[in-house]
Symmetry: C2
Subunit: 253 residues, 2 copies
DNA sequence: TGCTAGCGAATGTTCAACATTTTCACAATC
DNA sequence: GATTGTGAAAATGTTGAACATTCGCTAGCA
């Protein structure tokens, strides 16, 4: 059997190039990216192709095209950070802006306990399978001595995404994208698993078991516990979270 | 002074046309939309312009382009319903799918009390101004006998969006888009304000006052009260909400 | 039945020209 | 001197035509 075409080498993606350049800070909000013709000549592709790619960045809210002037990087607040494409770029090219990362993490601290609670109420058998597979992946990747950080974080993400999906609500499910950059950031910057991997894994296990047992309040607290390490690893006190403190009245915290 | 150019008449937006056609159900998931050349000739614009517009639908997750075959409408689950552009289309062209509308409303019932609570903790003076202006608009539009339904719902949306923004968190702020279709749908289908406008307005007022007074728990309950009418107007029991029941242990419900 | 080659239709890419918008410099005017 | 008008320059927006590539389908063959 011949190799699958190994020399396909699709045309370079200007969107990808510019996304990397913008998210890594080489172009800041207010800056103008190179003009169409320059990009076209630099990458040896046609101007139409460049325009097609720029359209993608416009749809993501990242750049703004000013007729007759150029393409300007928009302010962070305008970026569609809920767009899966944008979160993927954030995940891939890391911290575009520490403030945004902090806000995303704060959001995550707010909602994930509630998501876990809901998942405990509604998860189907298939959802549990997905959660368990992700968990097993985390465990496996941690045990093997040459534990791949990258792979571990992938399973970590899959674990949390599976819980979001287990809410059986399309909005929550799609929101799960938002946590990918948050988790990746954590892994990059000396993650909490590094400090005490077994304890972290155990907290994840308890969360999974609470969902499987259909114990919403246990799931809520287990998720809080999972996130606690996450929070102070990035210097965010759980108290900064929006909803956390409201749960003080819960029994047996 | 001459009129500002009244005859500009920008080129027809194929994206807009197709969005209307898809969201109103004329093209269902799995269907193929007309091919590029047909659209180009039908609207008397160039094929490049058509392709640019199709790109927008692709970025929104609504269609999928199959090289050499056509552009297929994707399944609802794939639509980026968190994309502001998509929610705007949903708002404008109404119920693409009752199921999605229900899920969005369920989500709203889940999160809005918490958002209100947070807003009560963090709202700045400017946030309060925005909330109040929206509220005044609602009140004004209700009092005037020729109360414009459309305008009232616009102020209603602005009111709730302002509360989301008052969380001072970028993720929550951007999420506020999701409630626009939910509110609009409500208005279209014999809204609750129609049944008892004054009571509804009063509930909104109490929510606003709780936020102004920095009373998070009051804000939480006030938001629940505002949403209660909304929920049963569309036949969704508050119990269906993810987080609602969890608040039973709150004091003085 | 199952595999392969090839055809046709549609999308993807390229090229070149022209239209429109915006800014800026400079001159004309009050 | 300040304002206003004019035109050139530079960038994005649009057009049209041609060619490349991809994918589904079908006819033909073993």
């Amino acid at each position: 059997m011949p190799h699958p075409p190994v020399s396909v080498s699709k045309r370079p993606s200007i969107a990808e190039y510019l996304a990397e350049a913008i998210f890594s800070g080489r172009y800041q909000p207010g800056d103008f990216v190179p003009k169409e013709v320059d990009l076209a000549t630099q990458f040896s592709i046609n101007r139409s192709a460049v325009r097609s790619d720029l359209r993608q960045l416009v749809d993501a809210g990242i750049i703004e095209r000013i007729s007759g002037h150029g393409s300007k990087v928009r302010a962070f607040e305008s970026w569609n950070i809920l767009d899966p494409q944008v979160t993927e770029w954030m995940t891939r090219y890391a911290a575009p802006n520490p403030d945004i990362q902090r806000e995303i993490l704060a959001f995550r601290l707010d909602v994930e306990p509630y998501v876990a609670m809901t998942a405990a109420r509604r998860a189907t058998a298939r959802d549990l399978v997905a959660i368990e597979e992700a968990f097993d992946g985390m465990a496996r990747e941690m045990q093997s001595q040459l534990g791949n950080k990258r792979l571990h974080s992938d399973y970590d993400i899959a674990f949390h995404v599976a819980i979001f999906k287990a809410t059986r609500n399309i909005v929550w499910s799609q929101l799960s994208h938002i946590l990918r950059p948050a988790i990746s950031l954590l892994i990059e910057s000396s993650n909490e698993s590094a400090t005490d991997p077994e304890a972290s894994l155990e907290r994840h296990r308890q969360l999974m078991e609470a969902i499987r047992a259909r114990a919403p309040e246990d799931a809520f607290r287990a998720a809080q516990a999972v996130l606690a390490g996450t929070a102070d690893a990035l210097g965010i006190r759980p108290g900064d979270a929006i909803l956390g403190s409201a749960w003080a009245p819960l029994p047996a915290q």
